[in-house]
Symmetry: D2
Subunit: 422 residues, 4 copies
């Protein structure tokens, strides 16, 4: 058995079935896998991945392995691991995995160290925790950096951290911002986060959304996905923002826009998707209605200030799986879902496979690109090459059996000329 720390290897058979189910909705990644199996572009490359250990991630792992990579995988969030998937990866597919749903922070970081122990040449991150460890935040960081050709990063939050590293001049190798590929952030962040956040809230609470007021903090791609779907389920939606341009878009999209201080008293359900910290905090808890439900779909569990809430609470108790009740001033009960961690992974299954198909095709192709070209790149954050991005879009359309128009030669010529006027 390969090295691992998972919950229960007995779950492997169930996990395998689920991985196969996900794979059916990942036709683009399947095509990449077929080519990888032939061409072996990652042959002999040690690749350390820190990702949500879900069935979709499993399909990515199988793709990378088919390409010749030696893998080690840990979780990118203490609460997002699917234990049956982790077991299947270890037992059925012989991929080292270090991830247990509900692990504490110490174990979470031990798992990161287990991945670093393979001395990865390529890193694959979801939130930049692995790269952050490598850059001296972890115990063994320093000496490992030299081995690394480059990395990839999946999320908006991780890309923000990497750009901060680049700006500080400390980034030690090139990283591809997979998040910034159009086939990633326009789809995964919007349609994936949108649906799966609603899914997470419903599984945790079974509340009716119709007629309720949902406050969405942040109107980036994720936030607009959540807002669209909440409205699609019959909720009234309020958006909070810090950027005027996005706030204006939200208003024109028909949402009410206001500061969180005001929204606090109006919301029945709050969802944070900002990438920032303490978006809901002490001053807001005090204004909330009895029964208000709070959750987060941003990468880190810092968007709701849970310490402040705990400080205000006169009592707290779990009332359903992934639902904790905090009793505050005046006997008001506030409910926090999934410990403030990303609710779509805590109480649901994360993004559906068909959208991760594109995100992870980007990951696989970005890893290949990094192996081929990484040594020629600077220590910066790079975008996914446009031709990769477009090719993924084309493959995805084809897999959905959608055909589109092509430019006629007359049209091509028209588009490059400026002489046709009124």
């Amino acid at each position: 058995m390969v090295d691992n720390d998972v919950k229960d290897l007995g779950l492997a058979a169930a996990g395998k079935l689920k991985i196969e189910w996900a794979e059916q909705s990942m036709p683009v990644l399947r095509q990449v896998r077929e080519r990888f199996a032939k061409e072996q572009p990652l042959k002999g490359i040690k690749l350390g991945a820190c990702l949500h250990v879900t069935t979709e991630t499993a399909v990515l792992m199988l793709t990378l392995k088919a390409g010749g990579a030696q893998l080690a995988l840990c979780a990118s969030n203490p609460l997002s691991t699917q234990d049956d998937t982790a077991a299947a990866l270890v037992k059925e597919y012989e991929i080292p995995v270090f991830a247990v749903k509900g692990e504490d922070n110490a174990r979470y970081y031990r798992h990161l160290e287990s991945v670093l122990a393979v001395r990865p040449q390529v890193t694959m991150d979801d939130g930049a925790d692995l790269i952050s460890q490598l850059h001296g935040e972890g115990q063994r960081g320093g000496d490992l950096v030299a081995d690394v050709i480059g990395g990839t990063e999946e999320t908006t939050t991780g890309v923000m951290r990497l750009r901060a590293m680049q700006n500080e001049g400390v980034l030690a190798f090139p990283v591809i911002a997979v998040n910034d590929a159009d086939t990633k952030h326009l789809f995964d962040n919007r349609y994936g986060t949108g649906q799966s956040t609603i899914d997470g809230i419903l599984r945790a609470t079974n509340i009716l959304l119709a007629g309720r007021t949902v406050v969405v903090a942040g109107y980036g791609m994720c936030g607009r996905g959540v807002a669209t779907r909440a409205r699609g389920m019959g909720a009234q939606v309020i958006v909070t923002e810090i950027e005027p341009m996005r706030a204006l878009e939200a208003a024109m999209d028909g949402y009410r826009v206001m500061p969180m201080r005001e929204a606090a008293g109006e919301g029945d359900v709050f969802v944070t998707v900002t990438g920032n910290t303490s978006v809901i905090r002490k001053e807001h808890f005090g204004r909330m209605k009895d029964g208000a439900i709070l959750c987060n779909s941003g990468h880190f569990n810092v968007e709701i200030d849970l310490d402040a809430l705990a400080g205000l609470a006169t009592a707290r108790r779990p009332v359903r799986p992934f639902v904790e009740e905090f009793v505050v001033e005046g006997g008001r009960r506030l409910y926090v879902l999934g410990e403030g961690r990303l609710i779509n992974l805590a109480s649901a299954e994360g993004h559906p496979a068909s959208v991760m198909d594109m995100s992870f095709a980007n990951q696989a192709l970005a890893a290949e690109f990094m192996v081929k070209k990484g040594r020629t790149l600077e220590r910066k954050v790079y975008v996914v090459p446009r031709e990769i991005d477009l090719e993924i879009a084309r493959l995805k359309l084809a897999s959905m059996d959608i055909r589109i128009d092509e430019l006629t030669s007359q049209q091509e010529s028209y588009l490059t000329s400026w002489r046709h006027g009124t």
Copy 2:
């Protein structure tokens, strides 16, 4: 311990927490319970209930018990029971329950007989199985009918059956069609079924709905709820109907409308909500795409002709909880969710509490009405008295903290006069 047949009494504590959670979203029923506790309108009445054994039903049971009723409860569907809720009702609240999730048909009918054994004076049905047994379909029916003052019925399907009984002249006592109350079918059927069907599909499959084509069979209240929510999640929606008026409404609501024979080849997901039989059948399976997903949100598991599908299949196997794969001609794989039983109860938790709040307030008040007035009624299907319906609407609005306008005296007079013209 009261008489019971449940899965595991050890689940009672978890069930109790969940019942309390549901109760928080049922303010109207809570008010009814408070009055019932004082007035004891059901004192000494034996009430037999055949309902989905969910947390919301539990709150109804507690209400009826508070009103003085002696209860016995069985499931109205073999797959809809929440085993923890059943356990809690028995152990924590001393209510006899006969229901186990996944029971076979024989056990299902034994459970009906267990409820009939208490010789109910009031029946409470969800699909009319209990009443049907009482009317000679069951072993002990005949001699029990004489004791019954009257019954209530929750669903469109059950009301159709009862009207058929009335038309045949066999209905042996009056029944109130709770389903036909506005505060029931305009809300529970539309917003409840709409959301919970989507919820059931997502929990069973974790597929992305955006970009997929969802075929909704039936455009009654339930069907339009499902169609609205499927669109709200980004799906294209096709509606099939047999009634021209509803078909026209669906078209004007922006949906594509076509016969199932055509829709069969277009759909990625099929949802039946017609109350009819064999809505999807042999001729349709043959035209479906590889990977098509089939489920039902109608009351009975007859809407998808599963026998025909089994006959066509060269192989079948479970691939995820509540997902069974059938391989048919050409290697196409069709997936049936929850054995064709109502998917919102099979793989999710049924209608959210806040909408069942109104449905079950109608049930409780209909039971009270039947005890008071049943002996004066004919052997017919009755609607819920309008004043009950409006009172529930008023209480619900108040609980949502919504105030509305009141007619001025000038307006009242205007509305009753015909003399004001242009």
Copy 3:
């Protein structure tokens, strides 16, 4: 030239083209016309109509004339006449018309008298002004009633007046409530009023709806049409209601619901569609924002209390066609569209032809029914016979090239049996 009072017969050619345009979108009425031309069911019948004089009404008139009727037509609203259509009816089709856009109330009532002067045997109303005149409100009413076989009525408002007459015992002949046909009120009131009200507001004001708050007073079929379309154009929508059931539906549909007193301070645009009087009144004007726009889509111009507004105003002036500015306390400017008359007819062209197709097919068939059966009916308000309603739905679907499912014999038998249970 037939008897007439229209604005300018020189507009007849333009009107004729527009009538032909409308006719293309009225396939159901065209079929009725073809049959009428053969069967002459209205042969020799004098029919007095008081309807909005639009192109769609013109197609109805041609249908009735083809059926053998002798016609006279006047306007059912002083501001809804299309002068070119009126001219064409007179000059091109030899139908007597008495209607001028913008006529004052005296001339409006003179026109009613001109229609009554033909001593109609069948009346056709839109708002019940003609019938009201006949019942003694007008100068010549009394002696004419005896000739009348029966009438038809197009609107919710008119039906309310007729029911009031029936309740008072004064209704002198039977009337068919065309409004209550499903193919009328489910479509015309919802989709017709919805779109054409938005159209009217845009033509009058050219404002951007996205990001604005639209207050819809009344959540009947018309109100929900307006609310749906306003949201569809990107507006936030607030609904006001007096009925708790409708208010609850509006809330579940995701709208904010509140009393007009609160909504007054939030709205950018107000639309009344209640059928009631003084829905927006003195107490509301005082709370409105500078720049608020007020309009009405209900039948009569009483929903906004314009006298009260005029009383409050320190200045008033027209600022665009169909837009009048009232300056009130604090220099706030309130804008009233189309003199508070139904905005979809005042500044736009009323309901589109394809929805009037069904409404007016009901009118034509109701007139035929009245001629055949009217003498056997009581002095009451009748609904359109269900078979007529369904036939119109079928013809409409066919004209849209939409086919639907038909019940199999197995399904028919299933629906009438109560013995199939779980």
Copy 4:
């Protein structure tokens, strides 16, 4: 009287009222005007503008004039001029205007020459016709270029032409792509074009959109605006595209996506918004349904190949203002709206003022920027400086009375640090 060629100066009073109406919805531009009046940043600058001569453009002209500019204005489309607005600009505000609605191409180009005759130092274009003339396409171009400091361009189409000029190396002075400002293209193109295109179609045709199939060619910002609003009015929407990424987004947004060849047979209404030529052409006309309606909201009237349609037609005639009927093979009737010119300006009033407020604030500030900095810029296409863009967003929000959150210092620090991990 200033130099002019307008339709009828007698329309000036009506035009003035309408300009004042538009101005009320342009608070951002009003603030710019106030500052311009004080600071005179355009003092003595000759500015030639080729824009749609609408009320909103008039408010921009008044702003530029207040800033000290000497103006000359011609139309950027033969069919988009509001004759009353043109008259008012000349007579009430003494601004030279050369524009008549419905002018032929020869007169259109004479008007461009009239503007060039003032020897502009700054050009302001909507479609790049003025700049194109200046670059040798017109009679007098050559000798005038030397005077020009720089230009601005309003549209996607114009920016495409300018980039083509830059790529060919012929662009003779710097131009600011106002279109590319977020406060322009995210709002004007999407919400403005969306609503006003629907408005244009309804005014031209008065058809019911509910239940009809609308084909939108192009899923850029304008196309998605049109698609959203068409759906919002109850239509089914089909999208055609040439770019896979956009096609995929359209599919995920729930629209059907297919080549125009297929869509041709499905559509009831076609709207082109691509910026390309012959998007609907001979091969498509042949497949269209009897009664299909075709219109364009792209800048030039080349998107529908009208020559090809005329060649196919056995007859053609106008049937309503802005609606021309072409009878083709099999007697099918196709209807072209507004001669294939942008329908929102041909039959409606163009973008509403509140969205042009931002677009034209960009224009005014871009002109100021060009006067200040133009001489230091290269002969390239520039974007609007980000600070201008954000400031406009902030002013717009404030004018809508919307407040938003501000970053706390803790949050600012969090966003720039990479050290906070899980």
